[in-house]
Amino acid sequence: MPGDIEITLNGRKVIASEREPLIDVCAREGVHIPTLCRHHRLEPYGACRVCLVKVTWGLSTEASAKVEKKSRYVTACNYPVEAGDVFDTETSDVIRLRRMSIEALLGRCPNEPGVVEFARAHGVTSSRFPPATPEGDDCILCGLCVRVCDEVVGAKALGFASRGPDREVATPFMEHPESCIGCGACSALCPTTAMKMEGEKAAVLRRNHGDIRPCRYALMGFFPGGICANSYRCYGCDVDQRYRDLAGDEHPIFMARPPADRAKDGEAA
């Protein structure tokens, strides 16, 4: 096919599209690349450095005796593959780099189950790095919350403040931002307990519907791409009222919940 190129992945020749992100090629070819700051709905960020692989460019032709090879480490999440690239994802140098990034994050957040579990799964069970604060931090600065709020939800209510080791996720003046629509997408994507949003209703919907918080009318097909703006407090929501009128009380989704539950919608999250 036009745009198809050949690359070498862990010693094996595979076909890819020119400038396709390496991580997509790996997924297709069954090569596991661990990631922490990546999400398929978001632009790749390249911050955690856990997805590092080694790439070597070979300029070898049968006719030419001189072969020039350079290699360096690149992040698989956003590296655009080119013809002739040679990738190694599991050599000891790559694993060492990967593990040290994980070790650093584990040291930073030693009490976060998500981090501890991820680290263990990649061979890191202890860390020489001290915690970010005496109690241990809960944020690995992956930026998923900031980016989903910016790119998918469009509210842009979160950002980063300060530089270097002082970097932290922040809102304007560290107050609840006006532009926040309370959809909970940040909390849904957060790999640790750093981003916390609300209570049971949200938990149920999250469990059932994955990462991005669809408004239930989106689930019903009324409201394509709609994100919940009300922490799933549907009782007070004008979107709910509008569609309830359209759908009618006899619609299955309302039938599924006992009347007593509907009153609970008004409780604070």
Binding site: G46, R49, Y79
Partner: protein, 628 residues
């Protein structure tokens, strides 16, 4: 007054040069930031007053210029004809200078530079060793022009390279010349400039950008500052030529040129440089070198200034561009090249101030002439800020390939005050420290990198035996730690961890595994970081571990600091055989720790000693010791 065509420009240049003919003498006063600090303003006022008093303003030209380079000896006055240089000028010398030198042509010996070794007074600027070894391709005109007056630049041939580029050459030819010159980026990366421009020309897009990186963040570096303060039009001319070079015709067959816009991104901490470049841009617009239909060529181009917000990381090209776009200054992966997708995803050429400053000369005199100086792989000259424990601190310009020894000893005059040379730090926070044994290495893009340092943007810091190399490593780590954007794990966490380890070593709590752990951290940061700040951050640590490993061992195993810098590891004591009992130490001691009888050997009570270092500084007999 607009220069409406090439011929018009030539005519104007002639007229201006002729008008200067009425001056019999020119007094050039250095007005660079260094000399401002030494008091050149009062010298200038004194000269203005004296010349007015004696009715000489019609035949004597008083020129306040940018940096002459000899910062240690400022305030500086250069008198032409004759090239007589007076150093450390006091305002009250001025009447005598005007009377004897300006009017009667007699040199005043006491005001001249005196060589510290031979003790001989040297009259002419070019005979002083500091200057004699230099090749001032870029900085040379600093002493001849007023940076606030575009006419001086025009009179010296300014903007004629631009005329050649606009009328004699097409974009491909301009790029061929730059490629033939083998000019490499002067900001530290050393990327071939011609190749960068060629990629940008080829990149599709009907709006392109040229950016001048004037964010100069390395501590102690002031090369770019001095170019902008001393000869801002040189940079502008380079940028306009560059803009023309990447400006392809828009759609095929169209007679419309693609639009090009320009930025100069100046760090906010350079108020004088900002003033100069702003004024230069205004004047360039007035005279028709910026704006629409430049010199009647049909080419439009203009430049805007952007001030930095105080972040070292914004000197990194992708972070700079993010900052220009109004976003936080965070770098992004360079797998997507900025020449194809840079500012607002449009083709962008970003070059350093000194790189742009090299361009007009190359166009004017040709690539072959340019390659006469320097080395095969690194042609041309490089400007360095030579600072630290060296006699002649200042700004120097030398051909690439000159040895470090020449820089430190011949130009710098060596380490002063009978101390011994210990190390030279090159390349700023991304570079490393090299010992005496490597001083014969040539300074260029490649040789220093092989030795574990790098030339970088041109900062050279000389260190003597009073410098602790572990402390130096920690200084650079702390600098980078506070300047790191914090986005990627290895740089952010690696620098924090290196700081922790180095701090405990300097406080006497180092552990035997620390050097190996530091190397492990370094390799991780080098391989894993997102941008060059992170990948080079470990160089100061790695180079000091390599070349000064015994100092680390002394700190860790013996818990001592040989240089006497690390307070917890320093114990002050009197070297009895040297002590004359002058009581000076007792007089300066704030706690009474140092005491003794007059003319008898003194002693220091370590329980009272707060290690303020005053006794060490005061003692003239080398009788205070700091590391047993």
């Amino acid at each position: 007054m607009k220069a409406t065509s090439r011929d018009h420009l030539a005519e104007i240049a002639r007229e201006i040069a002729e008008s200067y003919g009425r001056f019999k003498t020119t007094i050039s006063v250095c007005g660079g930031t260094g000399c401002q600090a030494s008091g050149c303003r009062s010298v200038r006022h004194a000269l203005e007053a004296e010349l007015k008093k004696r009715n000489l303003t019609d035949i004597v030209r008083l020129l306040v210029t940018g940096c002459h380079g000899f910062c240690q000896q400022g305030p500086l006055i250069l008198i032409r004809p004759g090239d007589i240089l007076y150093c450390k000028v006091q305002p009250d010398w001025v009447p005598r200078i005007v009377e004897e030198t300006v009017i009667h042509g007699r040199t005043i010996d006491n005001f001249l530079y005196r060589d510290p070794v031979s003790m001989i007074r040297i009259e002419k600027e070019q005979d002083i060793p500091f200057y004699a070894v230099q090749s001032k391709l870029i900085l040379g005109d600093n002493t001849c022009l007023d940076p606030t007056d575009i006419r001086d630049y025009i009179a010296l041939g300014g903007y004629q390279a631009l005329a050649k580029a606009l009328f004699d050459l097409d974009p491909e030819e301009i790029i061929e010349i730059i490629q033939a010159s083998r000019l490499r980026g002067r900001g530290g990366g050393g990327f071939p400039t011609g190749r960068k421009w060629a990629s940008a020309l080829k990149a599709p897009g009907d709006h392109k950008w040229v950016i001048c990186n004037a964010d100069e963040g390395d501590p102690g570096a002031f090369m770019d500052e001095s170019i902008l303060e001393g000869n801002p039009h040189l940079v502008l001319e380079g940028m306009i030529i560059g803009a023309r070079a990447i400006c392809a015709d828009a759609p095929v067959g169209s007679t419309e040129l693609a639009k090009v816009g320009g930025f100069v991104y100046v760090r906010n901490e350079y108020p004088l440089a900002l003033e100069r470049i702003s004024e230069a841009i205004n004047q360039a617009r007035e005279w028709g070198f910026l704006g629409k239909n430049i010199l009647g060529s049909g080419f439009d181009f203009d430049i805007r200034i952007n001030r930095g917000g105080g972040a070292f990381v914004c000197g990194e090209s992708t972070a700079l561009i993010a900052s220009l776009e109004g976003k936080p200054g965070e770098p992004r992966a360079k797998y997507i090249h900025t020449v194809e997708h840079g500012y607002h995803s449009e083709p962008t050429v970003l070059n350093n101030v000194e790189t742009w400053a090299n361009v007009p000369g190359i166009i004017r005199h040709g690539p072959a002439k340019y390659r006469e100086l320097g080395t095969e792989g690194s042609p041309g000259t490089k400007i360095f800020s030579l600072v630290g424990k060296v006699q002649n601190t200042g700004l120097v310009e030398i051909p690439m390939g000159t040895s470090l020894r020449r820089l430190v000893e011949d130009i710098g005059g060596g380490v002063p005050e009978k101390k011994t040379f210990k190390a030279v730090q090159t390349g700023g926070p991304s570079g490393g420290c090299l010992p005496e044994s490597l001083l014969d290495l040539p300074v260029d893009f490649d040789a220093l990198t092989e030795a574990g340092s790098m030339m970088g943007s041109g900062g050279i810091i000389v260190m003597d035996s009073d410098t602790c190399m572990v402390d130096v490593a920690r200084y650079f780590v702390r600098f980078l730690e506070s300047e790191s954007c914090g986005k990627c794990t290895p740089c952010r966490e690696g620098l924090r961890e290196m700081d922790r380890i180095l701090t405990r070593i300097t406080e006497g709590r180092g552990e035997s595994g620390d050097p190996a752990y530091l190397v492990e951290l370094a390799r991780w940061m080098e391989g894993g970081s997102l941008c060059a700040l992170g990948t080079t951050a470990a160089n100061p640590v790695l180079s000091t571990l390599k070349h000064f490993s015994d100092e680390y061992t002394t700190h860790i195993t013996d818990r001592k600091c040989p240089a006497g810098v690390c307070r917890e590891l320093t114990e002050y004591y009197v070297v009895e055989e040297n002590c004359t009992g002058c009581t000076l130490c007792a007089k300066v001691c704030p706690t009474g720790a140092a005491s003794g009888e007059s003319k008898k050997a003194h002693s220091i009570d370590t329980l009272l000693c707060i290690k303020c270092n005053e006794c060490y500084k005061a003692c003239k007999f080398d009788a205070i010791g700091r590391c047993r």
